[in-house]
Symmetry: C2
Subunit: 423 residues, 2 copies
Amino acid sequence: MTSKPSADFLLVGASELVTCAGNAPAVGAEQSRVAVIENGAIAARDGMIVWVGKEKNIDAEVDVAAEATRLDVGFRAVLPGLVDTHTHMVWAGDRGDEFDRRLEGATYSEILAAGGGILRTVDATRQATFEALLSAAGARLERMSRWGTTSVEVKSGYGLEPASEYKMLETVLELGKRHPQELVPTFLGAHTLPREARGSQRARERYVDLVCEEMIPTVAKRHLARFVDVFIDEHAFGLAEARRVLESGRRAGLGLKIHADQLSSDGGAELAGELGAVSADHLEHLSPEGMSALAQSGTVAVMLPGATLFLRSHAYANGRALIEAGVPVAVATDVNPGSCPSESMPLMMQLACLYCGLSVDEAIVAGTANAAAASGLEDRCGSLEPGKRCDLLVLDAPERRQLIYKLGSPQIHMVVARGLVLS
Amino acid sequence: MTSKPSADFLLVGASELVTCAGNAPAVGAEQSRVAVIENGAIAARDGMIVWVGKEKNIDAEVDVAAEATRLDVGFRAVLPGLVDTHTHMVWAGDRGDEFDRRLEGATYSEILAAGGGILRTVDATRQATFEALLSAAGARLERMSRWGTTSVEVKSGYGLEPASEYKMLETVLELGKRHPQELVPTFLGAHTLPREARGSQRARERYVDLVCEEMIPTVAKRHLARFVDVFIDEHAFGLAEARRVLESGRRAGLGLKIHADQLSSDGGAELAGELGAVSADHLEHLSPEGMSALAQSGTVAVMLPGATLFLRSHAYANGRALIEAGVPVAVATDVNPGSCPSESMPLMMQLACLYCGLSVDEAIVAGTANAAAASGLEDRCGSLEPGKRCDLLVLDAPERRQLIYKLGSPQIHMVVARGLVLS
């Protein structure tokens, strides 16, 4: 006699239950493997999925507790909760006024010269209390969830000094304790140079020393982050500096991520491939060599098309070429106050289809299973399978396609994280 | 002794009460006239605004009934409800599958040859019952309202035969009776040629005759529409045909609107100017002569940037040049199943800023006061002033800018139409 799994949560009425089941990240033709169950149902216990199948098989296969939460979603499509694998959602202050100036034609350099840009966010974030950061980020998390996001990777990088960087990462950890959503902290002390390190080459070197020799070991020792990330860019760090940061992270036991090839082909993807980074992000100007390096290492390419749209740079990552080259592709919001304030994962998946060459199903995998893999969460979320978190979104439509087709106005009916109905 | 207006609805707590008060449409420098009252309040009676002012003056200036609805919006920005002045939101059937094919690289001609495209919507709409159309359009109206839209102009044009065209317009009129939102029907029998008129030049001429000699007089006589519209395009109608349609409409007492210059400079704007059309819509390929004609006639230019984004045509209407030439500018969604399924006015206002050259305040006027003028509603809505409908949206932020800055994820806290809280 086989014992049936017991459940305290049951969802029925899914016209299409899009499970995205299978090994993540999905590569090549597998990128469109959404694995749909028609007339599907899900059972969970203590926030974890225990059973997924056809609704008609529930009685035979699941032991549903009398007091279980029962949701009938009325012939609507159900997808895994979206995984936003690249965000900078912990920050203080507001830079909306810089948006006005940008619309008037001001360049980023002009905004920077007027006291704006990233260093303004750094000043505000350094000055903010832990509670203030927690409150601002918590409000963002709540709004992001309304758009279907149930897992978020969050980078530090607006502190740029030990105490403020740790404060940001502690904010992420505390957010994860207070909310049912899954949060992953990433240390990005090498986001840009702080003001005090911009005066001389020696000051610059001292800051990289501080990141590699003090902050990374402390972050690892105190379990403040799972990943180390670095921004390769002419206004941030060079390839040799990035290598040093990532190698320090690797020695400390952290996973590796890179902001690569955003404004030019900077060798970031090649470095990601060489060091076996879990993801390389941006890639708007990826070189053929970089593409090969990512395919060989199995690194996930994380596209951030919202930044392209918001910055009007017109260069989108070529998702079609990446998939055809055998690189697993994910998509994320990049939520941040300067280059992409959008909190909507559906918009990013829509842009991935319209401007990065993905199909609807490829974009769904890019926002779920492959995004989970890009944040090391493939064993926890990104698909609807027994053993994963019960994170899902219910569309107000019977077909999954409507999440993408309804440009800028996705019809999200309900969002569930760890078995709890969020909205 | 002056009598104070009495009110059954009172809204307080507006950090910025964006009234957009003044003559509409706003032209040139006036396009950014948002007329903000800080710490503002609104009083209404029977769904119409009776007073707008500083919160501190309420007691002295308004007689608020004891049983009045009182809303404290908690230091949030309040704007006029958005006016979507160009939609095709009444249709039956679904064409989401064509989106999949388009992403795979199919051209519009290929989709048309496979039985897709606009004629598929015409078939479904002809076959649909009045109740089915009402239900589909009602669901769309409800979703559009969640994005802040409280007034909608709706075009016919998926019937392309008398009974089906009238059925569409009756749907709009019935929607307006059943919902507190304001709806304006526009007759667009000249949207495209129906299948039965595509065989020969004679059949084509007979269809234009049918539009001009039968449908327009009937629509006017039965008060089924306020405007007549025509689509000038190589796949639709030529300039001479458009002139005939519009002149027939004018003779019948209807206001005039034109779909002009979407895919090439087709002389549509010049015709709009010459005939004194209330609006010319699209204008992605507006000529300098067309721009002058619009400026001279005071015709409102309605930009539809969602179609450009969705069709990946890269050509956006040049809102900056239009404003500087003295043409009043509005922005709308174009909601339809083929070229723009988006129901979000905020996304359109965001694109108007990022890609059409408008400032935040110009975009707000484009989505409110000038949009109202483009639908002949300037006496009824589009601004928060005594005598106008109490239609408004409350942002979940203290500054109006956040409606635009938060690309694809506008924070709408509450929407009110005719004094009723919708969401």
